[in-house]
């Protein structure tokens, strides 16, 4: 009876709502997380894959991963991939969101078309970009050459200087829809009268962007960046289709490496170890997001 009252009073109701969702997440996402963290401190083989308790090896897996010849290269690539993709997605997404916030015929309809990459399966996007980015028969080189931007073909996927950028380009395309959509939502939530007042005060477009748009968008930007970081770190589909992390690991990133160690080299413990290391980056993203919500304004 007291429980029912508490429900009606609200606190119980709130706890019920959050609790149900969190319980679900803990069971289906928390448990696998624990399994992976445990595994990174254990010795694993095909017979113990299904077990939870296995020979404990301390930090051996971590030491072994750091000692792999490709470790620092993968770390560097991960940073390039994450910052390159996120910057590209965010800047282009923001630019498009601002552009489509203008009032012109067909703005809403055409903006809708930009959500296509949201519904394309990653496997397919990887395949398409693999054909587009090919050095000889790739259509991107043909277009760039005819525009006079490049003289000779660029081997996007095979040149160690470009291979990571090939994946970045494809990933920017893939994540553009998500960024533009969320940023559009944030833009639309800014009250019009703020801009009108600023215009009356004689603020130019740049000043209005800097003093109104950006501060008002802080929570949205926080959400976009943190969800974007998580999405980018988890990006997997593009790698097998484009470069498989090659040539010689020059486009290998933590997410793909973790998969490769676990499911291609069957070294499950090391794969888990790399995934736990990625954890740190997401921790960082979550803190950014939670902090950004401090500046939210309630409607």
């Amino acid at each position: 009876m007291r429980f029912l009252n508490a429900l009606r009073d609200g606190v119980g109701f709130d706890i019920l709502l959050v609790g149900a969702a969190l319980l679900f997440l803990v069971a289906l996402a928390g448990a696998p997380l624990v399994y992976n963290v445990l595994m990174s401190f254990q010795q694993v083989d095909m017979f113990t894959l299904g077990a939870l308790f296995r020979p404990f090896v301390g930090f051996d897996n971590y030491v072994a991963v750091v000692r792999q010849p490709e470790f620092w290269l993968v770390t560097r690539n991960t940073l390039i991939f994450v910052f390159g993709s996120m910057t590209g997605q965010f800047v282009l997404g923001f630019a498009l969101a601002l552009f489509f916030a203008q009032n012109f015929p067909g703005a809403a309809t055409i903006r809708g078309l930009f959500l296509v990459s949201w519904v394309m399966p990653g496997l397919v996007v990887g395949g398409i970009w693999s054909l587009i980015l090919a050095g000889d028969y790739g259509v991107l080189n043909v277009i760039l050459r005819s525009l006079g931007i490049i003289q000779a073909n660029v081997f996007w996927k095979s040149d160690p200087a470009f291979s990571i950028w090939a994946v970045v380009i494809a990933n920017i395309w893939l994540g553009l829809a998500f960024n533009m959509l969320l940023l559009s939502v944030g833009l639309a939530a800014i009250p019009r009268d703020l801009y009108e007042a600023a215009e009356l005060d004689g603020a130019n477009a740049f000043q209005r962007f800097w003093t109104i748009t950006l501060p008002m968008m802080r929570p949205t930007i926080g959400a976009v960046l943190s969800l974007g970081l998580i999405g980018t770190l988890q990006q997997f589909d593009l790698f097998p289709a484009l470069t498989e992390g090659g040539p010689a690991n020059t486009s290998n990133v933590a997410g793909f490496w973790s998969w490769q160690l676990s499911f291609q080299l069957y070294d499950f413990a090391k794969g888990a170890t790399v995934s736990v290391m990625m954890f740190l980056l997401v921790l960082f993203a979550s803190v950014i997001y939670v902090r950004s919500t401090r500046h939210e304004v309630r409607g």
Partner: protein, 275 residues
């Protein structure tokens, strides 16, 4: 340029941008009807020399496409249902207060998203096997994928609830509504648009769910369309025509729905609930 021309100029720019952005999609359609070796011809052809439209019928017949697509719909529907039911309430509460517990809740929701699906599938498989859920593979996939979709949904819908004026809920409470009553009769209807749109987005990304399905669902009659796609990648061969044709068949209906619904989607999200 005078002011009256500006909108039309913007429209032209918008169309240009859309053409650039949509080029990869165009390339998917064109590649699907090219001959196997024309795909690799140098220089590439922007329009197929001898378009082979038959590839669509061929792929449709070779694969049980209707079954695959139906399973995709079932799985995406299930994921959406669970996400909406559990995620909406969670987002509402996380939007309602401003304290350290809410911070922790938000933090948890994001952190539980940290591992890629490919790494989570082994422990989930082991767990599902323990409780016998592998005998209901589509349900198992729905549960696993819903956990993956949840954080995104919560963050977005939370933003929607933020835009519902607090005063409306409070006045309902003053009028004698219970919290539960106020939630269902005032807050939910006001946030309906945003929730609906996020549900559609969740459905669309769940439609492409691949990693869980391929491991958990063993019977081909229960597999979604994304799993059927990987069958074209053989040990020594990659059937690009079929892959692209299959993708086209698979993506086109979603694209069509999207184009029809997109005004509503964008408007629903961008207009907020009430302003």
């Amino acid at each position: 340029m005078t002011r009256t021309y500006t909108p039309w100029f913007l429209l032209a720019v918008a169309l240009g941008l859309a053409a650039i952005y949509l080029f990869p999609v165009y390339w998917m359609y064109v590649t699907s009807v090219k001959s196997g070796s024309e795909i690799f011809s140098n220089p590439p052809t922007f329009w197929p020399a001898d378009p082979n439209i038959g590839v669509f019928g061929d792929v449709w017949a070779r694969r049980a496409m209707p079954t695959y697509l139906w399973n995709s719909v079932v799985i995406a529907g299930g994921v959406t249902a669970i996400t909406v039911v559990l995620g909406t309430g969670c987002a509402y509460v996380l939007a309602r207060y401003r304290n350290v517990w809410i911070d922790i809740g938000l933090f948890c929701v994001l952190m539980l998203q940290v591992l890629p699906a490919s790494v989570m599938v082994t422990p989930l498989f082991v767990g599902f096997n323990q409780i016998g859920l592998l005998n209901y593979p589509r349900t198992a996939v729905v549960l696993a994928a819903a956990a993956k979709a949840m954080p995104f949904f919560v963050v977005l819908v939370r933003a929607t609830f933020m835009s519902v004026p607090r005063e409306l809920e409070e006045s309902a409470l003053v009028d004698g509504n219970s919290r539960v009553g106020a939630f269902f009769s005032i807050v939910l209807p006001l946030a309906r648009n945003g929730i609906l749109v996020c549900a559609i987005l969740t459905f669309m990304s769940a439609f492409g769910e691949y990693i869980y399905s391929k491991s958990i669902i063993q019977s081909p009659v229960l597999q979604p369309a994304s799993v059927g796609l990987s069958g074209f990648l053989g040990p020594n061969s990659t059937d690009w025509n079929s892959i692209m044709a299959y993708s086209a068949i698979y993506v086109t209906p979603i694209l069509a729905i999207f184009v029809i619904l997109q005004r509503r989607i964008v408007a629903g999200l961008t207009s907020g609930a009430l302003k």
